[in-house]
């Protein structure tokens, strides 16, 4: 069994290398950006524009993840999409973020409205990860 496996090892590696050289490399057909930038988060009291749209273009389908980190390295928001999802297919896509943190506290106000913790004023770091690798990075600005 060991001999069979060792004999199969080199051909398998060879064919994997050949296959990977012919397969299409994933690239961005449209840069990873957000609009508006700067933007206001959902808790904004004035203004009509709240939240921001992350835009990116994919050359081929991929498992996609968008991550947002505070400047201290805390991962505060993350969304994942499979290559079979619309956001993971080839082409131009936009994903919305309202500025609320997954890691934040939610508080019900006297009015019944739930106030969610949002990103503070400042710059945050966003990453577009495709098939487990960082494809692009973008700095987003929150300013109320």
């Amino acid at each position: 069994m060991k001999i069979i496996l060792s004999k199969m090892f080199l051909p398998v590696v060879f064919f994997m290398l050949i296959f990977s050289s012919f397969s299409e490399a994933l690239s961005l057909t449209s840069p990873f950006l957000n609009y508006p930038n700067p933007f206001k988060t959902r808790d904004s009291k004035v203004g009509t524009t709240e939240g921001t749209y992350f835009a990116y273009g994919l050359s081929s389908p991929a498992n996609i993840e968008i991550r947002i980190y505070m400047i201290d390295g805390t991962l505060v928001w993350k969304r994942s999409f499979l290559s079979t999802d619309p956001e993971g297919s080839a082409g131009y896509h936009e994903v919305f973020w309202d500025g609320a943190l997954d890691t934040g506290a939610s508080r019900r106000q006297a009015s019944g409205y739930i106030l969610r913790e949002t990103a503070p004023n400042g710059i945050l770091l966003s990453f577009l990860i495709a098939n487990g690798k960082v494809l692009a990075k973008n700095k987003i600005t929150v300013f109320q």
Binding site: P36, R67, D72, G73, V76, K78, E94, G104, N121, F143
Partner: protein, 619 residues
């Protein structure tokens, strides 16, 4: 103390705040490389200027000042610089820290003619920066309410912070705010510390007194600062406690972060620092943080290991730490340079002139002569107080057998504790018939001080007297501090329940140290020969006699002697170093002095002697 605890918790509960956004605290990321290498576990140890960020009560224990400067680049984008200094004074420790961070390169975007998002290249990029200045104070150690033997320190931080955001369509905006931290550090033993701290205690709803980051433009937004309660336990194990060859010092700290105002789980931080030599320290930590789980209001605990090393040259310490990120490209490297300031503590020290600190004596009391700073009007030692004359004073101090920590606390005219000093005196047991020149005087004195041997009521030791089997067994059992139980039946035919050594003999039989004779007797009063004593000691001290030297150890102990293996092994292990001749005289009765000398060379007893003579432990 209870009132202070209630006050701190009340503050933190009030901090649960109305602010919809929280800014990151510099205490999370602008800290020294040493603490990052420890997995950010530092609340219990808190022994350098980094304690300002973790537990402001740490400064009160510092004997020397320290300065720590740190540089790092977080997520490969945010530049962070910090400087922290801690300076012990006669009133307590004063600390100052400053941290600065910044990131730039965020660009204004617009939708183009086809509705796609693009960078507006006509506008400048946006930049964000922040800074924090911290003023810290820690009290001098005071007797804790828990026990008169336990001392504690209290510390507070006043934090001032600023942030600014500019460029792009923003123009220029800035914010500022203040907050406070509190800390408590208890030292229940020489090498254990228990710490608590509450960071950012001010409620952010109280705009006027701080607790919030207030923006002066835009919507004049108010942001809170995350408040967290930390509890930690730290161990600083010196070389004297560590097994031989295990280096100079081992530090272990475990902290728990608890969040009152947020639904965050408690986060664990564990760190260990090992100094194999005076110059090199190695660190490893286990760090936890919250992270998004990928859904709204859904978080998980992200754990990672951190690594670090420190190099010490003179008063300088160079530290490096590596903190991996969940993104391969965003690992963080921390670099710190620290300077230990040696002079601050020396100014406020009461110095024992006679006897000097670390004195060994046989006397039952000493006349302590010491010199305190001139502002010290009264010195208290134990329950006694004495007035000083231009700082000098004398006091007779009784000594007990063993370690005597003479703690001197100096008070000024106002009654403030402004100086302290320590004189460590070791009193050894002395016997009238064992002069200091006697060849085995050290081992007899050490064994007696440790309580392993005792003398006679007339103050003598009778070192040349022979040892009976019962006496030898008692010696061995006492040296191991074995718990004794009164036998319910006769131990041997000739060792009744009422025999003075019945408990020792029973314990030694239970421990397989000695055996009786085939006829069921023990012969407790029979004298012990040197060969028999060595044989018992080799078995008792786990000295290996499996591979003794081939050649006979002594001329009069041939290879076929019943105890030759044990005698050879004992000689190899250094137990018989007192035998200077080429003969051993195995059949000669062993004396009390020889038994003491041999016993003192057994590994675990020599470790106990080392501890007894170590002035850094037990005072």
């Amino acid at each position: 103390m209870k009132r202070i605890s209630i006050l701190i918790v009340s503050f933190c509960l009030l901090s649960s705040a109305a602010c919809a956004a929280l800014i990151p605290d510099v205490s999370r990321f602008a800290v020294g490389a040493r603490t990052i290498g420890l997995g950010r576990a530092f609340v219990g140890i808190a022994d350098d200027a980094n304690s300002i960020f973790y537990n402001p009560a740490g400064g009160g224990w510092a004997k020397t000042g320290s300065l720590v400067s740190t540089a790092t680049r977080l997520m490969d984008d945010t530049n962070v610089l910090s400087l922290a200094g801690m300076f012990p004074t006669q009133y307590g420790s004063i600390g100052i820290a400053y941290a600065d961070y910044g990131v730039s390169g965020s660009f204004v975007t617009y939708r183009d003619a086809v509705g796609r998002i693009a960078v507006d290249s006509t506008r400048e990029g946006m930049a964000f920066s922040g800074s924090s200045a911290i003023l810290s104070f820690s009290s001098l150690p005071f007797i804790s309410p828990f026990s008169p033997d336990v001392k504690a320190t209290l510390g507070f931080n006043l934090k001032m912070f600023k942030q600014s955001l500019g460029g792009g369509t923003i123009g220029s905006a800035s914010s500022s705010g203040i907050d406070i931290d509190g800390g408590l550090l208890i030292k229940p033993s020489e090498w254990m510390r228990i710490g608590f701290s509450a960071l950012n205690m001010l409620p952010d709803s109280y705009n006027q007194i701080g607790g919030a980051n207030n923006w002066d433009s835009g919507e004049e937004r108010k942001e809170g600062i995350e408040n967290v309660i930390k509890a930690g336990i730290g161990l600083k194990i010196p070389s004297s406690i560590l097994p031989r060859g295990m280096g100079k010092e081992l530090i272990i700290d475990a902290d728990l972060d608890m969040f009152i105002a947020k639904p965050h789980p408690a986060l664990l931080h564990i760190g260990t620092e090992w100094w194999p030599s005076d110059y090199l320290g190695l660190r490893m930590g286990f760090d936890q943080d919250v992270a998004s789980a990928g859904k709204t209001d859904s978080m998980l605990v992200a754990s990672s290991f951190t690594y670090g090393a420190g190099l010490k040259f003179s008063n300088f310490l160079f530290d490096y730490a590596y903190k991996p990120s969940s993104l391969a490209d965003a690992n963080s490297h921390y670099f710190s340079i620290s300077y230990l300031i040696p002079t601050f503590a020396e100014r406020q020290v009461i110095i024992a002139m006679e006897p000097r600190d670390r004195t060994i004596t046989y006397k039952p009391s000493v006349l302590l002569k010491a010199k305190a700073p001139s502002k010290v009007a009264e010195v208290r030692i134990g329950g006694a107080a004495i007035k000083t004359l231009a700082g000098s004073f004398e006091m007779a101090v009784d000594l007990s057998i063993g370690k005597n920590p003479i703690k001197m606390e100096g008070y000024d005219e106002k009654g403030s504790n402004t100086a302290s000093g320590e004189c460590r005196v070791l009193r050894l047991v002395e016997f009238s018939d064992v002069p200091q020149q006697f060849w085995a005087s050290d081992s007899i004195s050490h064994m007696a001080t440790l309580g392993i041997v005792s003398g006679f009521p007339d103050g003598t030791f009778k070192p040349q007297k022979g040892l009976t089997r019962a006496e030898m067994v008692a010696l061995l059992i006492r040296s191991k501090d074995t718990a004794l139980t009164k036998p319910s039946v006769n131990v041997f035919k000739d060792v009744g329940r009422q025999h003075w050594a019945s408990q020792y003999i029973k314990a030694s039989v239970d421990s397989n140290i000695v055996k009786g004779y085939p006829d069921g007797t023990f012969k407790p009063s029979a004298g012990l020969t040197r060969a028999e004593a060595v044989s018992v000691l080799v078995r008792f001290g786990d000295v290996s006699d499996k591979d003794p030297v081939a050649a006979a150890a002594y001329r009069d102990v041939p290879a076929n002697h019943w105890a030759s293996k044990a005698i050879s092994a004992a000689k190899q292990a250094g137990i018989l170093s007192f035998v200077k001749e080429s003969t051993f005289k195995p059949s000669r009765p062993v004396t009390r002095a020889e038994a003491c000398e041999m016993l003192s060379k057994i590994r675990f007893i020599s470790n106990r002697t080392d501890l007894l003579l170590n002035f850094d432990v037990g005072y």
